[in-house]
């Protein structure tokens, strides 16, 4: 049974679909899948033992490893990107005047970047102890 006469090859021929968010659509899926993997690790780490997420020592210990910081920074980045891109995806479902579009995109971008800086700042503020 065939649902469509268009093959994937044909679909990509339409220039419009390339320029109306196709990239963010792909990124949304890739970051989503990555976040599932990160989230499994996050949950095992945070809930397998009740102490691991809620004591300062545990956090400080993990943060001594630069690779852990890199994972954390990636997690924050992907999560915020996915969240704000998703939020923009919701708005994009509705018909908007250009000025409203620009306003909403600006708010989302500024809020997203502020979130990122905030999150990074927390991670970087945790000291390395020798």
């Amino acid at each position: 049974m065939k649902f469509s006469n268009y093959s994937d090859k044909h679909m990509y021929k339409y220039k419009a679909s390339k320029e109306t968010g196709a990239k963010s659509w792909v990124f949304q899926r890739i970051t989503g899948l990555a976040l599932v993997v990160f989230m499994i690790g996050h949950y095992i780490l945070m809930h397998y033992q009740p102490e691991s997420g809620k004591t300062y020592e545990a956090v400080l210990y993990r943060m001594q490893f630069s690779w852990y910081r890199i994972i954390d920074l990636t997690f924050v980045t992907l999560g915020i990107y996915h969240g704000f891109n998703g939020l923009w995806g919701i708005f994009r479902d509705y018909d908007m005047k250009p000025w409203l579009k620009i306003t909403i995109i600006s708010i989302i971008l500024i809020a997203g970047l502020a979130f990122l800086v905030w999150g990074y700042n927390i991670i970087f503020s945790i000291p390395y102890i020798n």
Binding site: F3, R29, G32, L33, L35, V36, M39, Y43, H47, Y48, P50, K54, T55, Y56, V59, L60, V76, G79, I80, G83, F84, G86, L87, I90, Y94, D95, F115, W118, G119, N121, I122, S125, I126
Partner: protein, 138 residues
């Protein structure tokens, strides 16, 4: 030949339109995905906010964490896991629909989302509260 009247979606009455629109599993999945997505974005904000005392050291952080270590809060955390689970599993379903010909089996996937979700939710409940349960008998 008579022209068929096509009912278009009225954006102005979007609440009423959404409520009266016929919904099958895919529509519900879409609605839940959206709601859980917004909830998770709000949660990321709360999450970063609640971790922000890390910048002011041990005492500030543990003072804040004491609030989150109560049983009531653990239950809320467990419910948060339900939202994370649904969004994750349905997200996988969406990727399969888009990239793995899932349009042919998306209804089965939706059922599977709920079955796997409920199983993992209960399993997480055991993992999270087993400590509490063991404490009661100590």
């Amino acid at each position: 030949m008579e022209e068929k009247k096509i009912k278009f979606f009225e954006q102005k009455n979007w609440i009423k339109e959404n409520l009266s629109y016929y919904k099958d599993s895919g529509s519900w999945a879409w609605i839940y995905h959206r709601i859980s997505g917004i909830a998770l974005l709000l949660y990321i904000f709360m999450h970063i906010w609640s971790l922000s005392p890390l910048t002011s050291g041990k005492e500030a952080f543990e003072h804040k964490m004491a609030m989150y270590s109560t049983p009531v809060f653990s239950v809320i955390e467990w419910l948060l896991f339900a939202i994370v689970l649904f969004h994750s599993l349905n997200g996988i379903r969406i990727v399969l629909v888009d990239w793995a010909d899932g349009a042919r089996y998306h209804k089965k996937l939706y059922k599977l989302t709920w079955i796997v979700g409920i199983v993992l939710f209960l399993a997480m409940g055991f993992v999270m509260f087993s400590h509490e349960i063991f404490k009661l008998f100590r």
